[in-house]
Amino acid sequence: MADIILVVVEQREGKLNRVSWETITGAQAIAAETGWTLEAAVVGSGVGDIAKEVAGKKVSKVYALESAKLEPYTPDGFMAALKPFIEQKQPKLVLMPHTYQVRDFAPKLAAGLDRALISDAVGYKYEGGNLRFTRQMFQGKFAADVSFVGGPPYFATFQNGAFRGDQVVQGDAAAPVETVNVDVAEGLVRNRPEAPFVEAKQAVDLTQAEIIVAVGRGIKEQKNIEIAKQLAEALGGEIAASRPICDAGWLPMDRQVGSSGQTVAPKLYLALGISGAIQHVVGMKGARTIIAINKDAEAPIFEIADVAVVGNLFDIVPPLIEEVKKAKGA
């Protein structure tokens, strides 16, 4: 039997999380290179429609792992669904998107099968029959090629943006969908989750902004936020920040860009004193042009910047404000 790649797609409240397409795109690429068979699974209650949606892509088969006890999501429930399924199907590779939900159960699932999980990978390499995954280390300052030791199944999760979800290959015909009724024993699920909610209505919708001036730790003090605000104002853009700035209360939480904040794709993203930690970068790397000003020449933000200015932002921003004002006045 051919080796199987199993992608566990993510659904929340009956809707497919679009980041799942990225994982399928990546899995399709691995399948093409290795000749392994690609299958997918969706876990939940009443997920038949999602399974059908996935079956339209180039995959061999889609499993709908069903139980009323799988809604809402709990790590115990997903463990009860996926562990016996994987033990039975014996896939070579299990791929998932590196979402907050997957982070919550995947380490437990892999450990429960006594296997490793390579988490938050940004790509893969298949050379000489060896499959390795690339992941970022030290907040993106380094990359590492990581391989699995021992036998399968191998578990890996892909970082948001690692592959293009819009490049997922359609299937010639719909793949078969098989429903697997999952037995979740009474009393097994210990966590009792309530419905998700939004804290306060997001006062600022940064996703619509064309120009964003964002500040990071390099701004050093709360009072220095002012010059960034002045620059944003001169440019007619919005002010935003990386997480530490919002944690410190220097800017409100709804100004946060990154995995726990908003994901933005403006025409211009001007990063002031932002080092470029992964958690921030996933929220802004879709910007059309990224200009980064940072005094540390090795800051990871420069890896994704279109224009790099290595220097002290406190020296550069004040004349920049003046020049912008001049240009706009002209």
């Binding site: 790590p75 979402t99 907050y100 939900q101 982070r103 919550d104 380490p107 437990k108 450990a111 490793a116 999980l117 988490s119 992941r135 030290f138 380094f142 990359a143 090629d145 990581v146 391989s147 699995f148 030791v149 021992g150 210990r190 966590n191 009792r192 989750p193 309530e194 998700p196 909610f197 997001q202 120009i211 440019l235 997480r243 530490p244 726990s260 908003q262 994901t263 025409k267 211009l268 080092s275 059309r288 200009i291 420069f302 890896e303 994704i304 279109d306 224009v307 200015v309 290595v310 220097g311 002290n312 020296d315 004349p319 920049l320 003046e322 020049e323 912008v324 001049k326 240009a327 706009k328």
Partner: protein, 303 residues
């Protein structure tokens, strides 16, 4: 309700139900009846025993260099406590201030890592456990969790806190695996913790600005998100007192039999290849400002 957890090839009994731990008489204010379930009924303010897993990582702005083999960084850098772990400690101290009890901190790593524990003791942790040895540095998340599980097998915690991930490896796995090894429920990326009738009620951070409350029984493991609270500084008196607080050392040899082979291997560490062509602007600030505005106006056409 005692169960078994598998650690490598050995088996350890977990202490899900056990006699209540001996506590200093001064804060021993309630009558306990041995069993956890009775204890929470009898007490208005139950005492909590919290373990905080902490890690020492290179300082955020420390220049890092690759070692000769290109498998890891050179060790001669400055270190600091992993930021989310500092929030985990702060949360543990706050919970103890509210409910009484004990805060124990644990780390693994060479002698240098003791600094993390000393700082935690100075901030108010009661005692510390140091899994000391170079061998701990290269353990994967699974083995680190196994080492921690082994080191605490005779303890009886109500809660274990970890930071949500480390700034070096960034696995975001050790806490969840530790919970699995102990047979405990867990919840990740936590922004708030309160006591409930049946255990605790925690606020999980979800993506895109969403949150969710989760009720869960004790004992439980939580991974803590940065920003859950405001960090305190160590006081002078705290720093002085820390010197007399117990710090237990556990050697690599003491736990190594419970570890397995690392199931993932870093083959190569390297500077990431740039996927983007970056234009570098240089010169005096005034000149850079002019060049930038020229770009914004004529190339990007945003002003």
């Amino acid at each position: 309700m005692s169960g078994y957890i598998r650690i490598g090839d050995s088996r350890f009994e977990t202490h899900i139900t056990r006699p209540f731990p001996i506590l200093p008489p001064l804060i021993y204010t309630c009558r306990f009846h041995g069993m956890r379930s009775k204890r929470s009924v009898k007490c208005k303010e139950p005492l909590v025993k919290i373990l905080v897993c902490m890690k020492q990582v290179p300082q955020k702005d420390a220049p890092l260099k690759l070692n000769e083999g290109g498998t890891w960084i050179r060790e001669d850098v400055s270190y600091e406590v992993n930021e989310p772990d500092a929030y985990a400690l702060e949360e543990a101290l706050r919970q103890r201030e509210k409910h009484g009890g004990e805060v124990v901190v644990i780390t693994s790593g060479p002698a240098r890592a003791q600094q993390v524990l000393r700082e935690a003791l100075a901030k108010g942790a009661d005692r510390a456990i140091h899994l000391e040895g170079d061998g701990f540095v290269t353990l994967d998340a699974f083995n680190t969790a196994k080492a921690f599980a082994t080191a605490i097998k005779d303890e009886s915690f109500d809660l274990i806190f970890t930071g949500l991930q480390s700034d070096d490896y960034g696995f975001a796995q050790t806490g969840v695996i530790l919970a699995a090894l102990l047979g405990w429920p867990h919840a990740t990326i936590i922004m708030q913790i309160e006591k409930s009738d049946s255990g605790i009620r925690v606020k999980r951070e979800l993506e895109a600005g969403f949150f969710q409350f989760v009720d869960m029984p004790l004992p439980a493991l939580l991974t803590i998100q940065s920003g859950i609270n405001k960090l305190r500084y160590a006081t002078l008196i705290g720093i002085k007192q820390a010197k007399n607080k117990p710090l237990k050392k556990v050697s690599f040899d003491e736990v190594k039999l419970t570890l397995g082979e690392n199931l993932q291997k870093i083959e190569k560490l390297y500077i990431p290849q740039k996927t983007k062509k970056t234009e570098v602007l240089e010169g005096p600030p005034g000149e850079i400002a002019k060049k930038l505005v020229d770009k914004l106006r004529n190339e990007l056409r945003v002003i």
